[in-house]
């Protein structure tokens, strides 16, 4: 044997304890970085988008097949019950129909008044298909099959039918994450169309099961706002375009403080069965903080007022 036997090098292994420690630090770092910047979004979204999205598209069709089957099964048991209910509904609907005709007339006049007639149609929209839903049971987000390649950027508004679904929160090359307005971390500034009172519509996990969303901070001393009133997005929202239908008030009550009122809204969109959505490519015109500051300075306002205003806006506008 030759004296220079190379000692067999031990394969380097890292004890799992240290691995855990290192990865913990990496995770914490990433959390801090995502809180301050969005460095990770581009590359991570890119990689994940190309590996997983094509797969999702395929499996998604299987999912909707099963979903249909499940619904059909449930329907068989409910049919008898439903039949009786439907007869009652016909009577109700006939009554409602006359009321709606009146509403329609009213709406037309209101549209002229507020120049809403051109709002929906004039936006450029792009259709997208839902391919993936939030697999956890905590929030209501989903993934659609259009991304920045199709011109989608964060904070674009998303519609389904004629109602507001939510807004784009994260964008990948061929996918986008949409946070719906019923999600627990979502707040929308809205307007009661009859009275032009502003309210805050906030998603809530507890009411998500009943398919309603909460609203609050309605200042309505004369108690003019009633059940069935229409809610649209407000002009002062900085992410949502004005005049998009959110839903109808289903329940309203005075707050304990006797100053404001709150209640629930029945959304115009059936959030459980969203298959295809429309993304509005037009963005709400936004004024950056610097521009705002310059504007204020030119008006000789002090910074204190500005900071106060900004603080309030953050509180009411977005809870993310």
């Amino acid at each position: 044997m030759s004296p220079v036997v190379k000692p067999k090098r031990e394969k380097f292994t890292l004890p799992s304890k240290y691995l855990l420690f290192i990865l913990t630090i990496i995770c914490c770092l990433m959390m801090v970085i995502t809180f301050t910047t969005d460095v990770f979004n581009k590359p991570l979204n890119y990689v994940v988008g190309y590996i997983i999205v094509p797969y999702q598209k395929g499996i998604s069709s299987i999912g909707s097949y099963f979903s249909e089957k499940k619904d059909a099964l449930v329907n068989v048991y409910d049919l008898l019950n439903e039949n009786a209910n439907l007869r009652n509904r016909i009577a109700e609907l006939e009554e409602e129909n006359t009321r709606l005709l009146q509403d329609k007339y009213e709406l037309n006049t209101l549209r002229e008044l507020y120049e809403l007639d051109q709002t929906y149609d004039s936006y450029t929209k792009v259709g997208a298909r839902v391919i993936f839903r939030d697999s956890g049971n905590w929030f209501s987000t989903f993934i659609v099959d259009k991304g920045y390649k199709d011109g989608i950027t964060p904070n674009m508004n998303v519609l389904c039918g004629n109602g507001l679904v939510g807004r784009v929160s994260v964008v990948g090359p061929n996918w986008a994450q949409i946070t719906s307005i019923i999600s627990d971390n979502s707040n929308v500034s809205a307007t009661v169309i009859n009275t032009q009172d502003n309210i805050i519509v906030s998603g809530d996990l507890a009411s998500m099961d009943n398919n309603v969303i909460l609203f609050s901070q309605l200042i309505d001393e004369e108690q003019k706002v009633t059940k069935g009133d229409k809610i649209v997005t407000s002009d002062i929202s900085d992410k949502y375009l004005p005049g998009i239908l959110i839903g109808y008030i289903s329940d309203i009550a005075d707050d304990p403080n006797n100053l404001t009122r709150s209640g629930t809204i029945l959304p115009a969109v059936d959030f459980e069965h969203i298959e295809e959505v429309l993304i509005i490519l037009d963005m709400k015109q936004s004024v950056s903080d610097e521009e705002l500051k310059n504007g204020y300075n030119s008006l000789n306002f002090s910074d204190e007022i500005l900071n106060e205003e900004e603080g309030e806006e953050e509180n009411t506008e977005d809870g993310e």
Binding site: C27, L29, M31, G63, S135, N137, M208, D209
Partner: protein, 173 residues
């Protein structure tokens, strides 16, 4: 290498199924947590290191698609993987009781952490509601799916182990 590819495929498949098929097949607005099943069973079968790495990547996947902060789910899943991996010594493949118990405990613990980190910190204090309406149904649904999914994961692991042993033997002789 083969094990690596199979594990990655398994992870992506379960993740995609969770968001598509099972999201459509939800009962009472609850869908099972397939990723927890995968992480717990593989960490029990393979040990701490697999648990940590698998948990990390599963969490990153969740973070990119579902989360708002990258690293949060990764952290939770990683520690779940590590904790379950430390039970590797008392794990026997024939015994389904330990994995079942560990999956339920992990799922409830996961729900608990998500509640604290993402809900309690935003002032949602009604824990009993979230426990009975989200955490508990999810755990029950998950355990039902485990009965179907666990044997599959066990079988895949067995095939891989046999394959590795055969290769090692060939290399020696």
């Amino acid at each position: 290498m083969k094990r690596f590819i199979v594990t990655v495929l398994l992870l992506i498949t379960l993740f995609v199924f969770q968001g598509t098929v099972f999201a459509s097949l939800n009962f009472a607005n609850t869908s099972p947590n397939l990723l927890i099943i995968l992480i717990v069973s593989l960490s029990l079968m393979r040990g701490e290191k697999t648990g940590v790495i698998l948990g990390f990547f599963a969490g990153i996947l969740m973070d990119v698609f579902m989360g708002t902060t990258i690293g949060l789910y990764a952290l939770i899943f990683m520690y779940l993987g590590y904790a379950n991996g430390s039970f590797h010594r008392v794990f026997f493949p024939e015994d389904i009781k330990l994995p079942m118990i560990m999956i339920v405990v992990s799922d409830i613990f996961y729900g608990f952490l998500v509640y604290i980190l993402l809900f309690l910190l935003r002032g949602r204090t009604d824990f009993s509601f979230y426990f009975s309406n989200v955490i508990l149904p999810e755990a029950i649904y998950t355990i039902v799916i485990t009965i179907l999914l666990y044997p599959l994961i066990l079988w895949i692991n067995k095939l891989l182990t046999q394959d590795e042993q055969r290769k090692a033997k060939k290399f020696v002789s």
